[in-house]
Symmetry: C2
Subunit: 278 residues, 2 copies
């Protein structure tokens, strides 16, 4: 991989559109697909979603929690999904929301971002409660391996607003402090940087200048959570082309296991999102 994650993602979005499909094998979804809530059901679901969205989605975003609930066997399925996605040349963002500090973050970096790990992905999501700068091992290993990190800035759920809008003793909102730190990391490179942020589509435009990121946005909240492609279009209207990756999960997955129905649904969302961001 000669290009970094940011550049590769931007190329992919320009070619295929901004859709990221969430791979969320919850117990409820497996049941609604007529599958057992088991490792076998999990594997069927994950591979079926991947198969249906190749060529339509710029990336997939497996939600690690739904694999972890089956322990090591669930992780074996996740590893198979990641392997198949690499073979199919689909970018993968692992939604793991990992975050610790020091040598523990080296462990997480090794798990998700090192070349030798069976869990290696193109990018991983990270949570900054222990400080953005504490995530340095993840940033460093990502940079070394042309991979990426999406740091949580403003999530799509209401419960997080009080914390994310709190003001530091310097008078800055937490969401802005995190954003500013990630933007600073991207200043070192030409082209789109490897460090992105998660910013939910369910919210109003933040007070900080969103065009200053220099990296990609990962956008949850569209579909089942209530935001529309038009909300996305308005929120990100000033961001450069190919820098916004919009996740849709339940609104696509709810159509059930039939391949053509899944593909049709993904293509409709992709087209609507492309139009809204044009």
């Amino acid at each position: 991989m000669a290009d970094g994650f940011g550049v590769r993602l931007q190329e992919r979005i320009r070619a295929l559109g901004p859709l990221c499909v969430g791979v969320d094998p919850s117990a409820a979804l497996l049941t609604s697909w007529g599958r057992s809530d088991s490792v076998e059901g999990l594997e069927f679901f994950a591979l079926a979603v991947l198969d249906a969205v190749v060529g339509t989605a710029a990336a997939i975003k497996p939600q690690v929690a739904f694999f972890e609930r089956f322990g090591s066997e669930g992780y074996r399925v996740l590893e198979r999904l990641l392997h198949e996605a690499r073979d199919a040349d689909v970018l993968v963002v692992a939604d793991a929301k990992r975050g610790d500090f020091n040598v523990t973050n080296e462990g997480y970096a090794e798990a998700w971002l090192s070349e030798r790990s069976p869990l290696r992905v193109d990018a991983v999501t990270a949570s900054p409660y222990l400080g953005v700068s504490a995530l340095e091992p993840l940033f460093r290993v990502a940079e070394e391996n042309d991979r990426g990190v999406f740091v949580l800035v403003a999530t799509s759920n209401d419960e997080g607003r009080a914390l994310q809008m709190a003001r530091t003793d310097e008078g800055e909102r937490v969401e802005e402090m995190v954003f500013r730190h990630v933007a600073h990391l991207n200043q070192r490179v030409d082209g789109l940087g490897n460090f992105g942020v998660v910013l939910g589509a369910t919210r109003d435009r933040p007070a900080f200048d969103m065009t200053k990121l220099g990296g990609p946005y990962l956008v949850p909240g569209v579909g089942a959570q209530g935001a529309t492609p038009e909300n996305v279009g308005r929120l990100f209207d000033r961001c450069p082309a190919g820098t916004v990756l919009v996740n849709v999960a339940r609104s696509i997955l709810n159509v059930g296991p039939e391949r053509s129905a899944l593909k049709d649904s993904a293509q409709r969302w992709r087209d609507d999102l492309s139009a809204a961001l044009a």
Copy 2:
């Protein structure tokens, strides 16, 4: 398990003392033990630490990152460690710092706190960046299964202070908002509640009333990170007996793989911490 996690932990601390031993199989520690940085090295290390601290430590705290770096094979080793710990009747706190919202947290709850999961533990650590109330699925499943959750309030590293000390629009520090919410959860029960907080020993006494938690404290930062048993004694001097669980990892693990040396080191730390908290 008729008793909840809080009650069981308090009984254990009263019987054995307040020591929690961190199971942190980092690459550096495996190497310093003369073992390969591999799944085999991981398994040897984890089981050796457990074996050496049975009867001395009230609990062990495996750091999940160091198992995850080996993918599903690492998780298989973690499952074996958890199985052996249950057989040896040692309480386990999984240091996973999980945190999301809604159905995703149901996935994490199922992974760490449900009866049928191979990863089930007595308690798991959780991160509140998406809001403490968003952790409700973890709290609910913990309560149903007499297990526990330790929510990050004030971590032991410097990088997290700006965020954790930020003030919400109601004028409350983030650390106090999280603390208050967890304390509220414990008000429903007699005896020590199942919901604890992580509060690092490296810091000064917070502005909120630490005696109001009604649940256990998990205390990192002692030993390699610089805090002493005396720091712990001062910080928690007003907390009820048996409510403070103090994690020590590197300062014990650095003695190497020899069983009696590990046991001696753990006993010294246990005795020093017991004296400081008496």
